[in-house]
Subunit: 143 residues, 4 copies
Amino acid sequence: MAARVSVDEMNRIMREEVPMAGNLGILFDTIEDGRATARLPFRDDLLRPGGTVTGPAMMAMADVVMYGAVLSRIGPVKLAVTTNLNANFLRRPKPGDLLADGRLIKCGRRLAYGEVTLVSADAPDDPVCHVTCTYSIPPEEAR
Amino acid sequence: MAARVSVDEMNRIMREEVPMAGNLGILFDTIEDGRATARLPFRDDLLRPGGTVTGPAMMAMADVVMYGAVLSRIGPVKLAVTTNLNANFLRRPKPGDLLADGRLIKCGRRLAYGEVTLVSADAPDDPVCHVTCTYSIPPEEAR
Amino acid sequence: MAARVSVDEMNRIMREEVPMAGNLGILFDTIEDGRATARLPFRDDLLRPGGTVTGPAMMAMADVVMYGAVLSRIGPVKLAVTTNLNANFLRRPKPGDLLADGRLIKCGRRLAYGEVTLVSADAPDDPVCHVTCTYSIPPEEAR
Amino acid sequence: MAARVSVDEMNRIMREEVPMAGNLGILFDTIEDGRATARLPFRDDLLRPGGTVTGPAMMAMADVVMYGAVLSRIGPVKLAVTTNLNANFLRRPKPGDLLADGRLIKCGRRLAYGEVTLVSADAPDDPVCHVTCTYSIPPEEAR
């Protein structure tokens, strides 16, 4: 099945309609049906004490990558909203770009659920953060 | 017991050392032992489709308020880091300031755990988001 | 507001319709609107290596106490089901009875969300486990 | 790398040392390094209102399967204990056997983290429950 949003469309949505994510500099790399990947280019203002990337930047990235995975399945239903996000921080990423890979585990009529794994671009085999996330999908008549 | 960091000290830490939180404009209001409250003044760039405040702004706020609650107990051990954050989004806040109230449920030698409740400043009885959060506290010799 | 189920009714539902919880021996103590408390009498078969009560017994207790808190608000809508349960184990309870105290944080038309705190009966100020839990409430026509 | 516990050893540990899990009838099927699978044979007393398997049985299964995945990596360190378990219930399983497949995402010196997916044996492509779980590993000198 083809993805129902494109990389360009998701990057435009972020830039124009989710400025917090857009301003962080997150960029989608690939979108397939039920799956999305993105990159967060490193910037000094993402650091926190200890010289590691701050957790909220990773959660913002996971949330928007899951948004991409959800829209890849249901199309640009922008009113889909997060109802739960659970983030486990597994190691402290060194300063550097982060990559996120998100996939749907279930996509029903009203709820979508999936997981996102984040790694440092220079150590792609060691997850730095693992996130599960539920989105609520509005009924047809409310979109 | 007196809090081991002050509101001024926490606001300075955010501004100078956690720029992502500082740049969002989060400001601590009160800090007591094991408890911290803060305000996120509304800005247009916190919105997402549907005209509601974006989830990552709420998670960033919860994370930093728990950081304040932890440091209120253990002092300015800035290398304390989040290991788990679980956010439940309960209703979509209208555009407007958000308030967060965080408290420790347990603070051991190596782990601190607590909860943060977020409300809209103009509807303080209806939580918009409830977060639980675990911080890892570094051993004395690693601080 | 009065609770819409009684302690006796909840204990009967557990015994007759949720045998796994009933067989563990969980007993409701009090039910008010939006709140429920229960006791899990100690039994040797609840132990795990280390001589502490096994986590799944605590999660079963939290789940059923939240069920009681939900039904206290909406009445005996038995088809309400858990969609998310997040348990944080804070200390290892010694062998002995456990007490749970659950309360609703939000109860909407379709979702209820709350928290449950578990303690050892002989150390009621030190939580052993803290749980957040979401229940899905079936629409009127499906009950 | 070879698994450091066997299926027989894990089934014996459950039967003799985690009676709650053993009494549910959970049986390990396979154990490899960092991965474990198990089956929960259906019994009437696992049902709850609505004719579906009760959530606590699924959480107990996920917890013990992750225990197997952890011990497969570190050996029979029975004092490893769950510190966090987050369960998302994705659909209501019909009466019937459940299968669980757990794998480590990270295994450090002090913490192990992984995920478990549960399916109905007769619909193995549709997850009924997805769980993430953190275990705390005791230091060498405390085992």
